[in-house]
């Protein structure tokens, strides 16, 4: 196929680029990218706080119980909305826009309008999350915000999507890199997913279980056709650029893209297994979830040899560490999802905390770590100034990793017990649930650590901005940061 040919000829994407005017290009996207990254981080903090609060609710259910806005059932969807649409989507967009500019070697089109889109996006989310806390949520998992803020979000996205695709099309001559494919796909799929789900689930809901089927398709799509491709676009750029080595087996990346595009769209209904929907729909979802291992394997084949050959650098480099753990989470979670989609496994793990743990590791492991790592690379280039406190980057990394492990591992392990015991009618129901308390304890501890990590990042970020915007303080070291990202860690 000619498409394969185009992409395969280029062995080392983004490594042998002739030096274009990076400073000018970065300046063209500075404002919107900075907005998206900063508001993404702020939503990460908000989402983590809401999640933490929900965890506290499980441990001390009577504390603050008089306030319906603080009830567990509202905190959970509010946190999820903040994390998916506030944090992950905005960070992904910020990094995606920056990549479009870098890879296309073309300035960002209409950056002022994109920045306006960011403002509208944050407004839509603020309204939506407050509405959830006040009990106006739709009650549909993944689409909790009331219709008015979903439409506002879609309008906000259009500002970004339209000019983003324009920037993509202004790409300087030469083949498209895999990252650009993933970005184009994501930018195109997201509005289609959101519009359909909005119409069919919230605005004109179908009868009976129809909204559940569409919502399952939508949630699968948000994962595999929106957040995953955005994160893969970042991995496929930053790993070769920072290590200075081309991705291995790069010709396979095109297969990864098309298989993700196809199976990602079909994978959603696997989460309805055992549910009251026609069997073929669930079967299609299971098959697609298992076949998603094709793109996942290719991502591993592309990135692991490179990371493996530079293990020393991976352990040292502030950016690569995040990315490497991100890839690892992606592979492990996808493997877990594929195995547990099979009916005999799903009988145990479906609806259990094991399933929840995989979802958490996907969002906070793969997606979040990838974007956070990428932000550590992007921001110093945008601001033409290095991170003021490299130590804080390490603090962020270790707090996040340890926190993640504390949340995910106990839940994954105890979720198996929960699943097995629920299937054993001899075990009393009350006992099964009561034993989950220790998992909740670890969860709260882990979330606290992760939140502290996020605070470390925000501190560093704020410090950097203060330095940049305070006239007079300038350090020569920060004026040029070479493309390999070394000066991010070493002066």
């Amino acid at each position: 196929m000619s498409l394969t040919g185009t992409i395969a000829k280029k062995d080392a994407p983004a490594v042998h680029l002739p030096p274009p005017p990076w400073a000018e290009l970065d300046a063209s996207c500075q404002l919107p990218v900075l907005y998206f990254l900063l508001s993404g981080l702020a939503w990460l903090l908000v989402g983590s706080l809401l999640q933490f609060e929900a965890g506290i609710r499980l441990l001390c259910p009577d504390w603050w119980a008089v306030c319906p806005a603080m009830t567990y059932g509202r905190l959970v969807p509010a946190a999820e909305t903040a994390l998916v649409y506030g944090f992950a989507s905005q960070m992904g967009l910020g990094i995606g826009l920056w990549l479009l500019v870098r890879l296309g070697r073309t300035p960002l089109v209409a950056s002022g309008l994109i920045a306006a889109g960011n403002v509208l996006w944050n407004l839509a989310l603020t309204v939506g999350i407050l509405a959830i806390l006040l009990g106006e949520g739709t009650g549909h998992g993944g689409l909790e915000m009331p219709a008015y803020s979903q439409w506002m979000l879609l309008a906000a996205y259009m500002f970004v999507g339209i000019w983003g695709v324009q920037t993509w099309a202004h790409h300087a001559s030469g083949p498209y890199y895999a990252s650009q494919w993933f970005l184009l796909g994501a930018m195109f799929w997201f509005p289609w997913l959101l519009t359909t789900a909005q119409l069919v689930v919230v605005t004109f809901p179908g009868r009976g279980v129809l909204p559940a089927i569409t919502a399952a398709w939508f949630v699968g799509g948000i994962q595999h056709l929106w957040l995953t491709p955005l994160a893969l676009a970042a991995l496929y750029y930053f790993i070769p650029v920072i290590t200075g080595r081309p991705l291995r087996n790069y010709h396979l990346a095109v297969v990864a893209f098309w298989s993700l595009a196809l199976f990602g769209g079909w994978s959603g209904p696997a989460r309805l297994i055992g549910g009251p929907v026609p069997a073929w729909i669930v079967s299609a979802g299971i098959v697609a979830t298992v076949l998603l291992l094709i793109p996942v394997t290719i991502v591993a084949l592309n990135t692991w040899p490179v990371l493996g050959s530079r293990l020393g650098q991976v352990c040292q480099n502030q950016v690569l560490r995040f990315l490497a753990v991100g890839v690892l989470c992606f592979v492990l979670v996808s493997l877990g999802n594929a195995v547990n989609a099979l009916r005999f496994r799903a009988a145990v793990t479906h609806l259990s905390l094991n399933e929840w743990a995989r979802g958490f590791a996907y969002l906070h492991g793969f997606i979040a770590l990838t974007f956070l790592g990428a932000a550590y690379h992007v921001v110093p280039r945008l601001m033409r100034r290095d991170w003021p406190a490299p130590r804080l980057v390490s603090v962020h990394f270790w707090f996040t990793i340890v926190g993640l492990a504390l949340v995910v591992i106990p839940a994954a392990v105890d979720g198996l017990r929960q699943g097995h015991e629920l299937n054993d009618a001899a075990v009393p129901t009350a006992k099964i649930f009561e034993q989950l308390r220790s998992v909740f304890g670890w969860r709260v501890l882990g979330l606290a650590l992760m939140g502290a990590g996020t605070l470390a990042f925000l501190t560093n970020f704020g410090w950097l901005l203060v330095r940049c915007w305070t006239p007079g303080i300038r350090s020569a070291a920060a004026l040029f940061i070479d493309e390999s990202g070394k000066s991010v860690t070493a002066r």
């Binding site: 009830t71 106006e136 998992g141 195109f188 179908g206 089927i213 769209g265 009988a347």
Partner: protein
């Protein structure tokens, strides 16, 4: 070389397959699913919820009870739901014709409520549980809903529906806690949760065994 249009076309096409398969076709297949009318009793199943229960359904969704409670009974070969007594048969699409918003749930941190009305039977409604689950089950992490009750001074005889609070939860003498209209609606909804009617696509387990 500019392959943009070709990539774009592929992106459109792959997405369209799943969109047709998982959005359009299910709407075709399930769009005109109808209640079933029993030949013996002449009653149709499922039935639309009366007003207060329908209001209660909104409240159930708004309070996010679905974050812990599922409402689905999995088939016997796909989990132990039926053995645990959460239903007499698996749940199927027809059961949910009048459920709006649908609250299937994706997390089981608590008992399934698909047949809660059936389980409750003629027992008194669990207002006390709604007020504070710990008043009944010590150590439960089920969410409390004190905001669904009004604290008021007793005037004359105590209200009939005032909560009988156990020790440790009691309110000051001369005061009583009574359910609000919302609490009554939520209770009506919980009572309405049942699907123990045999359907052609889902016979009851007991009926099956008798054959």
């Amino acid at each position: 070389m500019n392959r943009g249009p070709l990539i774009f076309f592929g992106i459109l096409l792959t997405f369209a397959t799943a969109w047709c398969g998982l959005v359009l076709v299910p709407h075709q297949q399930l769009g005109d699913l109808a209640p079933i009318v029993s030949e013996e009793t002449g009653q149709s199943f499922p039935q639309a919820r009366p007003g207060d229960a329908a209001q209660g359904a909104r409240l159930y969704a708004s309070l996010g009870c679905v974050a812990c409670h599922t409402q689905q009974v999995r088939p016997e070969d796909g989990g132990g739901d039926i053995a645990r007594g959460w239903g007499l048969r698996r749940s199927v699409a027809r059961d949910y014709l009048y459920d709006r918003p649908l609250q299937l749930g994706s997390q089981r941190l608590a008992p399934d409520l698909a047949n809660y009305g059936e389980r409750l039977g003629t027992n008194p409604p669990p207002y006390l549980h709604l007020y504070n689950p710990r008043a009944i089950t010590a150590g439960s992490y089920c969410a409390a809903n004190p905001f669904l009750f009004t604290l008021r001074a007793v005037t004359g005889a105590p209200a009939l529906d005032a909560l009988q609070l156990p020790k440790g939860f009691a309110v000051a003498a001369g005061w009583e806690l009574v359910p609000t209209a919302e609490a009554d609606q939520l209770m009506a909804y919980l009572r309405s949760l049942r699907f123990s009617v045999a359907l052609p696509e889902a016979p009851l387990k007991v009926v099956e065994e008798n054959k």
